[in-house]
């Protein structure tokens, strides 16, 4: 046992009160003293406080996340590494992950969103994969809220500002506006990278004596206790004063890091590499050592600093952006340093791997922290927090709130109103600010159901989309989660790709409240069941708790990122009708309902429970779409989501190559409002040559397949006698709604 490190002059005394001020509980502080056999120093206390924070340790969620299906025949790379990967064929693997940056984005929208993008990109290239695509899921408050416009402008600007400058195309996403997010916006960022299977990197330290290199931006006081603590507690008046130094993103340095790291990996001199994310130097060093069952010693005097007077505590906890930590093969430091110098980056040797299992930090020749590696990287508490069903009245009350208003509008008026609602309307104002084509892989960018990317030098391709459905989750957190996974899978399958893997970001309120914990557990169960049924392993993810302000939690918002694969990307589909005379058909696995619909949000509707989802039928729908695409039986496929069937039909007509029309017969289904505007029915609108109708019916059997009309050249949308609208006018409403509300061209 080594001697206890010495307290530094001027450091606060460590006691329970100080520990609690650091966000540790009485029991947690006792556990720390027990593990160490002594009281930690102030520096060590800081280390524990971040490493044992909810954000870093997943202490409330870990137990439940174990139920997710994380393996499968296409899953590459064991658990415990930074992000999962799936085999996408021809020797390529796709590495992808989604992560939240909610709290920082609420405080400082531009930089918060920008650094969210930067952070998730580092998670990807640290695995040895070149990032080739980004997505984002954004949830804002309602337009009545005074901060909404400001937050939208800042977040979208930040996502674009960072992504555009690093050269990773932003190819898809989703945006929602709802008063439930007034005090807690959600900014979830996704990135995907491609690697040759044999080039995947490890984050497992090996070889005592191997040097540890620090690469990238110098360390400043940014975000000390930032991401971790902010994301591990509710927002209240006090958070203002705890506000850390805001992290500012530097996408140019990130770009240099991407190129330099990928080039450095090719030398073979890198043993392990990890980005410095939350809890920066501390987490990256202790986690790499922990995975390798080794120790690590850091000389803090060698860490490049932005300001000379940083304390060891600050150096270890800084969350400065654009930094990477590398374990190199001994003797090959110079080789790596030459690569980084080529990219004008400094690579400093700041320590080495040890065999003693200790995580040790030296400062001015003295040991300032000396902890068992496991204590910080593995021994964080795991909680089985109490969960209980909220009083039934809550859910009903929520549903009743939107209930029964005045008379239902006429169908045509309802359609126009829906197309102009910010949740349904075109998100072009947003994605026009994102470079979606750089890297020359984007076959379908934002605008259609899922993005489609090619893989160069191969016939293969990928489809991706991110989805969520907080309204359904608010009514039933289990069914809502299942519905979200199914929607994401459908979106990918509508592009013709086979859903292959999931990453997820689970955004919930305060897990210390049993009702929230219950929502969370039900959400994870829904994700599990749907992922198993669809054969899509969950290869990565992130949990964001404490999304509440002044005691008001957001609706449960599991965000699902689905990645699908094409054997032949030339067979991809878009959502748009193409050829006049084609049959327009719908395939659906359930009956549409006003429950959790945009229609109900706009006009009110009698409260409805969510219908249970038959996962066997969902699987059939997805498989059928893929088969239809692979056999070239259909010319377009579009998932029915917010706004229901009528909106989906209009969207399918908005072909960028020229508006098409559609004529729907007022058939036997009796097109009442719920059929036209209901949601939740897992419905897909497809168009196909007449001669294929028969075989399409067979493929989807036993699902409901119905031919409802035909594609026309006249740019009109007609549905029996109920709706007869000029599509150019509808498109105008759909395109102008967001810019109109955001007061920008």
């Amino acid at each position: 046992m080594s001697a206890a490190p010495i307290a530094l002059a001027g450091e606060p005394r460590v006691d329970l009160a100080e520990a609690r001020a650091h966000g540790l509980s009485t029991e947690e502080f006792a556990a720390i003293e027990r593990i160490l056999g002594r009281t930690p120093t102030f520096t060590e206390l800081g280390v524990f406080s971040v490493m044992w924070s909810e954000h870093c340790s997943y202490k409330s969620s870990r137990k439940h996340l174990r139920m997710l299906p994380m393996s499968g025949p296409n899953v590459v790379g064991g658990p415990g590494e930074n992000a999962g990967a799936i085999d996408v064929g021809d020797g390529w693997v796709a590495v992808f992950k989604i992560e939240s940056h909610n709290h920082p984005s609420y405080v400082e929208p531009y930089q918060g969103a920008a650094t969210g993008v930067g952070g998730i990109l580092r998670d990807i290239f640290t695995m040895g994969a070149r990032p080739i695509a980004s997505m984002n899921s954004l949830k804002f408050g309602s337009f009545d809220h005074p901060r909404t416009r400001f937050l939208v402008g800042g977040v979208v600007g930040g996502v674009g500002g960072y992504g555009n400058c690093v050269g990773v195309p932003t190819v898809a996403g989703e945006v929602m506006f709802d008063a439930g997010y007034n005090g807690n916006i959600l900014v979830n960022a996704f990135a995907l990278g491609l690697a040759r299977r044999e080039d995947l990197q490890s984050a497992r330290a090996r070889g005592a004596g191997n040097p540890v290199l620090y690469v990238g931006s110098a360390t400043g006081r940014d975000g000390i206790h930032g991401a971790s603590l902010l994301a591990s507690a509710e927002f209240d008046a006090e958070s203002e004063s705890k506000r850390p130094t805001v992290q500012v993103g530097d996408p140019f340095t990130e770009k240099l890091l991407i190129e330099a790291c990928l080039e450095a990996m090719k030398t073979g001199a890198i043993v392990a590499i990890q980005d410095m994310g939350a809890a920066g130097l501390t987490s990256s060093s202790s986690e790499m050592a922990g995975r390798g069952g080794l120790g690590i010693e850091l000389d803090l005097d060698r860490v490049p600093l932005r300001e000379a007077d940083l304390t060891p505590y600050e150096i270890l906890l800084s969350e400065s952006q654009e930094r990477m930590l590398i374990v190199a093969e001994r003797g090959r430091e110079a080789e790596l340093q030459a690569v980084f110098a080529k990219w004008d980056l400094h690579a400093a040797v700041i320590g080495h791997v040890t065999g003693d299992g200790r995580w040790r930090a030296l400062y001015r020749g003295r040991v300032v922290a000396d902890l068992p590696v496991g204590a910080i990287s593995d021994d964080a508490p795991v909680y089985d927090r109490p969960a209980c069903v909220p009083a039934a009245s809550d859910a009903l009350a929520a549903a009743a709130e939107s209930a029964a208003q005045a008379d239902a509008p006429a169908p045509a008026a309802a359609l126009r109103a829906l197309l102009g609602s910010p949740n349904v309307a075109s998100k072009r104002w947003v994605y026009r600010q994102y470079d979606s084509i750089v890297q020359s892989n984007t076959i379908a960018g934002p605008g259609s159901d899922a993005a489609v990317l090619r893989i160069k030098d191969s016939r293969r391709g990928l489809a991706l989309k991110v989805d969520s459905n907080p309204r359904a989750c608010a009514i039933d957190p289990y069914i809502g989660a299942v519905a979200t996974v199914c929607e994401a899978a459908r979106n990918v399958a509508c592009a013709g790709a086979r859903p292959a893997g999931i990453s997820n970001c689970l955004n919930y309120g305060n897990p210390e409240r049993p009702e929230i914990m219950w929502q969370f557990i039900r959400g994870v169960e829904g994700l599990r069941d749907a992922a198993i049924a669809l054969g899509t392993p969950v290869i990565s993810g992130n949990v964001s708790f404490y999304n509440e302000t002044e005691g008001r939690a957001i609706a449960p918002t599991p965000v699902i990122a689905m990645v699908g694969t094409f054997a032949d990307v030339r067979l991809h589909l878009k959502q748009y009708f193409k050829i006049a005379g084609d049959a327009v058909m719908i395939v659906r696995s359930a009956a549409p309902s006003y429950a959790a619909s945009e229609y109900a949000a706009l006009f009110g509707a009698p409260p409805r429970p969510l219908a249970p989802i038959d996962l066997g039928r969902e699987r059939r729908l997805v498989d059928g779409l893929v088969e239809c695409a692979e056999r070239r039986l259909i010319r377009s496929a579009h998932d029915v989501s917010e706004g229901g069937l009528a909106v989906a039909l209009a969207e399918a007509c908005f072909n960028p190559a020229g508006i098409m029309g559609v004529e729907v017969d007022a058939g036997d289904s009796g097109h009442d409002g719920e059929v036209l505007f209901g949601e939740g029915a897992s419905t897909v609108v497809i168009s196909a040559p007449l001669e294929n109708i028969e075989v399409i019916h067979q493929i989807f059997d036993p699902l409901e397949v119905r031919r409802i009309g035909r594609v026309t050249t006249a740019a009109r949308l007609t549905i029996g006698a109920a709706i007869n609208e000029d599509l150019a006018a509808l498109k105008q409403i759909y395109e102008m709604a967001l810019p109109g509300r955001l007061n920008r061209p």
Partner: protein
């Protein structure tokens, strides 16, 4: 034909330009590193899109000092062909190899879209495969593409035919609505007085494949290649 694509540390569309030239158009294209001086015998230099040095100050302001840009300036002075796309256009203006400057878009927002541009002068090495008046559909993606120059200079440039591309609507008419960034006189691309240096905000290298951004960008590359072939035949003949 031999091409050199310059890679600055923050270049982004460098690999796209190489891909378009080599894989799609079958050209001999090499990547040139900004810290080097050699142009590797290239007959046409491409300054690609991206954020050469992060471009936090002014786009292209820092790139012009790199060693390779000194060679590019000499090459241009000797009549060599240089095309600057997006950030490359900004660099050429900052390096005074082209007149004018590129400022922040009128909307103050980055814009990624497909625009229609009209070829204003087809009698140049960069446009000879097109017709004057022809309309091309090309992608744009930039935050600072608003072209400005003093009025007298603009007038002189127009008279000399240096404005090669102008933003227009589908019908071929220049208008405020069809101008994505507020450029003066809807200018999308200009050449120098010697017509051997060309800068444009649209990305022809992202429009060479039907499945991606269409094929109208080929017009620009085909023009240069045709000129290269002519030059070669002049030399050999």
């Amino acid at each position: 034909m031999k091409w050199g694509v310059v890679r600055f540390p923050g270049s982004l569309d460098d690999a796209d330009a190489i891909h378009a030239l080599r894989e799609v158009l079958g050209q001999d294209a090499a990547m040139l590193w900004h810290k080097d001086e050699a142009l590797g015998g290239a007959e046409c230099i491409v300054l690609p899109g991206g954020f050469s040095y992060g471009d936090y100050l002014r786009c292209g302001a820092i790139a012009r000092f790199s060693p390779i840009m000194q060679s590019v300036a000499r090459f241009a002075a000797e009549g060599g062909l240089v095309i600057g796309i997006c950030n490359g256009f900004q660099i050429l203006c900052e390096a005074h190899l082209l007149p004018g400057a590129l400022m922040r878009n009128r909307s103050l927002a980055f814009v990624c879209d497909v625009v229609t541009v009209r070829v204003e002068n087809a009698a140049t090495p960069f446009t000879r495969a097109a017709r004057t008046g022809e309309i091309l559909r090309l992608p744009i993606k930039h935050g600072e593409g608003c072209y400005v120059a003093p009025q007298e200079e603009l007038r002189a440039m127009e008279e000399r035919g240096q404005v090669l591309l102008r933003y227009v609507d589908e019908a071929g008419v220049a208008s405020d609505a069809a101008n994505p960034n507020g450029s003066m006189r809807s200018i999308a691309g200009v050449a120098n007085q010697g017509f051997n240096v060309f800068g444009l905000m649209p990305h022809p290298e992202h429009a060479v494949e039907k499945a991606l951004g269409g094929e109208d960008g080929r017009r620009i590359f085909a023009s240069i290649i045709a000129g290269g072939a002519r030059a070669a035949s002049r030399v050999s003949g």
